[in-house]
């Protein structure tokens, strides 16, 4: 083994220069390879984002001269009862959907792990099926499920003696119905990812717990969940941001009604942009959504790359 310091200065100089020049070339290669991705990100993410931010400071409708109003759209947003309702609906939807998805998804994957591998795999494949359906198709399927005349949901509820379920046509139940649809559609993703996470937990830990006489709950809370933390953080991040930006499901199921009880921030921004041609206001609503996402999920995003023992 030869180290640079072991060689005389007359030889070490050219070797050092050659390594330096090699490192430079490697760096150039890396820049070339990153370039397409950087161009793509600038074109499809950074520029639209800057455009949205700038447009949100204008009273701007397509085909008309924009008027600079600085924070006018943001002031209007926080004085608009429909916009605030959309913000509240989005928050409720995100909290309910995310917590149910994580609880059910992780619960199912833990149960599946306790089954024989073949049974577990078959059931996992069956449970994963909804993930193959696009959100808008899922919304159409569930729209018929919630139909009071033909729908399976009403058929089951009637069988249970419940005859006054409001479903999608009542302000008090419509959002819950959408949450249920979203949980049905998104939980398979949680099952698949958390099942993968469970496979890396050493079996010896469970064996030791069994020998120590730990019950299932203690094993879950003292071994499984702590060792799954990193995976859970990623799941909360992905599912939480997805839920906060929900559009397709609501659009297909209720269009934001009844009486704006299911209008989300995305639906609200869409209505302002394309139904009312208030592009500037729609951009402001989108920027508010983005800021809320950064505030809620930014810390998780930063922490997701940290070593596991930092949590």
């Amino acid at each position: 083994m030869t180290r640079t310091s072991d060689i005389g200065p007359s030889v070490a100089g050219p070797i050092h220069r050659r390594r330096h020049s090699y490192a430079q070339k490697e760096q150039r290669l890396a820049i070339y390879l990153i370039l397409p991705a950087a161009v793509a990100i600038t074109l499809v993410m950074i520029l639209p984002l800057v455009f949205a931010l700038v447009a949100s400071f204008f009273q701007y409708s397509l085909g008309q001269q924009p008027v600079f109003i600085f924070l006018g759209n943001y002031i209007q947003f926080f004085q608009d009862s429909t916009a605030l309702r959309a913000l509240l609906n989005t928050a409720i939807f995100t909290v309910l959907s995310l917590s149910l998805c994580i609880a059910i998804g992780v619960g199912i994957s833990v149960l599946l792990k306790s089954l024989a591998p073949r049974q577990g795999n078959v059931l996992r494949a069956i449970f994963a099926m909804p993930i193959l359906i696009s959100p808008i198709i899922a919304s159409l399927i569930w729209r018929y499920m919630y139909d009071p005349t033909y729908g399976l949901v009403y058929f089951v509820l009637n069988g249970l003696g419940i005859h006054d379920f409001g479903g999608l046509t009542s302000s008090s139940t419509a959002l819950i119905c959408i949450v249920i649809t979203d949980v049905w559609h998104a939980t398979p993703f949680i099952i698949l990812v958390s099942s993968a996470g469970l496979t890396v937990i050493p079996e010896e830990l469970y064996e030791a717990a069994r020998i120590d006489g730990a019950n299932a709950a203690r094993t879950l809370f003292n071994i499984t969940l702590p060792l799954l933390t990193k995976v859970l953080v990623i799941l909360v991040l992905i599912r939480g941001t997805d839920a906060f930006r929900v559009f397709d499901l609501i659009y297909g199921l209720t269009g934001g009604g009844p009486a704006n009880s299911t209008t989300s921030l995305s639906i609200f921004a869409y209505q302002q942009a394309y139904e009312n041609n208030q592009m500037g206001y729609a951009m402001a609503a989108s920027v508010v959504t983005l800021i809320a996402l950064i505030v809620l999920f930014g810390p998780l995003m930063r922490n997701s790359a940290r070593p596991a023992n930092d949590f």
């Binding site: 005349t149 009844p258 041609n277």
Partner: protein, 428 residues
């Protein structure tokens, strides 16, 4: 070797970047292309919605290509995406569309945004319209709808309106005459509700419920605005109409508060509802014996009124974007599509296609397949349109949300109207 690797990597990076830029700059959206006997060195692109009648439209466009050699491509997309796509294209002057299919509600915004070509001179130019086109045969109400500040921006093409649809056999059996007034319909709907069904209503939050309100207002001798053009939602006649909406919704078929026109039509087609309110564009399916359980049994009437029969003119027209590179050729296509022969051919393919051409509407051979025509004519005697001002879309959005609250939450009609009045009065 290292140099070669670096060069190759740089080459790959450049190729990927160029491919990406090329993909981003491409404007080709695909879609159907009429390729029968192509002779023209250009292709006209038509933007329309992909709902009912799109297939028949494609057949007519193919026929046009056969007759003239002008290639036509139809970009048919769903209704919800149609206005955004047209608006974005015309705003960024892509020149992608030569002809746009637009309802009257969008015209105010398009004209204000300076998107459309003034057709006033074109319709007088026989070299473009052809000799037998007959502009005077198009109903004046249609021309007026698409005229803004004395300039014509669209050739009226298709009209539809919401009507009352009822099962003649069922109503006769149960001893009811055709419901004409608010009081009649409340009695009939209440009876059927007590029998386990009710009236099918398009009362989902959205356009349909505000369209029904517009008809009820006209039928109650009022409108959204007072004589000076100011928003006037708190006048007692408007409150009365909204109160009626709340009353009739109580006797709606279960689920009606979440339905749009198509779901009402489905409930009627499957015989689940003995009566309902839906739009004429969907009547063919109700009368289609292969799809419908009630074909031949249904009657059609104007939506019940309090003072006089009324109807809502919901129409579509062909407009030419200013950024079209073939405006004259596009107008020739629009003139051909609105000609008597093309419209008769369309009505033969789809009886629910009702035109603004009087000669086509009076054609008895066509009327035999469209039993709803007399009801349309009756409703048109007091035909109104939705408000067409640019701010109208915001008003209708707010009203549909408010009406949804009235029918689902039992909100007070007067309080709801006061709230919308307060929010939107300054915009008119």
């Amino acid at each position: 070797m290292r140099k070669t690797r670096g060069t190759v990597a740089a080459g790959i990076a450049a190729a990927l970047t160029l491919a990406l830029l090329a993909a981003c700059s491409s404007t080709n959206t695909g879609g159907a292309t009429s390729t029968t006997k192509p002779q023209s060195d250009f292709t006209l692109t038509v933007s329309r919605w992909s709902g009912p009648q799109a297939d028949e439209q494609q057949k007519l466009l193919d026929q046009y290509t056969k007759e003239t050699g002008v290639k036509v491509r139809m970009d048919a997309i769903d209704y919800a995406s149609l206005q955004p796509k047209q608006t974005l294209n015309m705003n960024t002057k892509t020149g992608q569309y030569d002809l746009v299919y637009m309802p009257e509600a969008w015209v105010g915004q398009y004209v204000k945004s300076n998107f459309l070509v003034d057709l006033s001179k074109y319709v007088k130019d026989e070299s473009l319209t052809g000799k037998n086109w007959d502009f005077a045969d198009i109903q004046k109400s249609g021309i007026d709808t698409y005229t803004v500040n004395g300039k014509l921006y669209g050739l009226p093409y298709f009209v539809q309106m919401p009507l009352l649809v009822y099962n003649k056999t069922q109503l006769k059996k149960d001893g009811f005459a055709v419901p004409q007034t608010w009081s009649d319909i409340l009695t009939v709907a209440h009876f059927y509700k007590s029998q386990g069904t009710g009236i099918a209503l398009p009362f989902r939050q959205g356009t349909a419920i505000s369209n029904v309100l517009a008809v009820l207002l006209a039928g109650n001798g009022t409108g959204f605005f007072d004589e000076s053009g100011k928003l006037d939602l708190t006048n007692p006649s408007v409150v009365q109409a909204v109160q009626f909406i709340q009353d009739v919704s109580k006797d709606g078929l279960q689920g009606s508060n979440g339905w749009h026109w198509d779901e009402v039509a489905k409930a009627l087609t499957f015989g689940q509802a003995p009566l309902g309110i839906t739009t004429t564009g969907l009547f063919s399916q109700i009368e289609n014996p292969t799809q419908s359980k009630v074909a031949g049994q249904m009657g059609y009437a104007p939506i019940p009124y309090n003072k006089k029969a009324a109807g809502l003119i919901q129409s579509w027209a062909w407009g030419i974007p200013k950024d079209s590179k073939h405006a004259k050729a596009a107008f020739q296509l629009a003139a051909w599509l609105t000609s008597k022969s093309a419209q008769t051919a369309f009505a033969k393919m789809d009886p629910s296609f009702v035109t603004f051409r009087q000669s086509v509407d009076d054609d008895k051979s066509l009327a035999a397949n469209a039993p709803w025509l007399p009801a349309i004519k009756e409703a048109l005697t007091n035909g109104v349109t939705l408000p067409l001002q640019p701010a109208a879309s915001q008003l209708l959005t707010d009203l549909s949300a408010g009406l949804s609250g009235v029918v689902t939450n039992g909100d007070d009609p007067k309080a709801m109207l006061q709230k919308v009045q307060q929010a939107d009065a300054s915009k008119f």
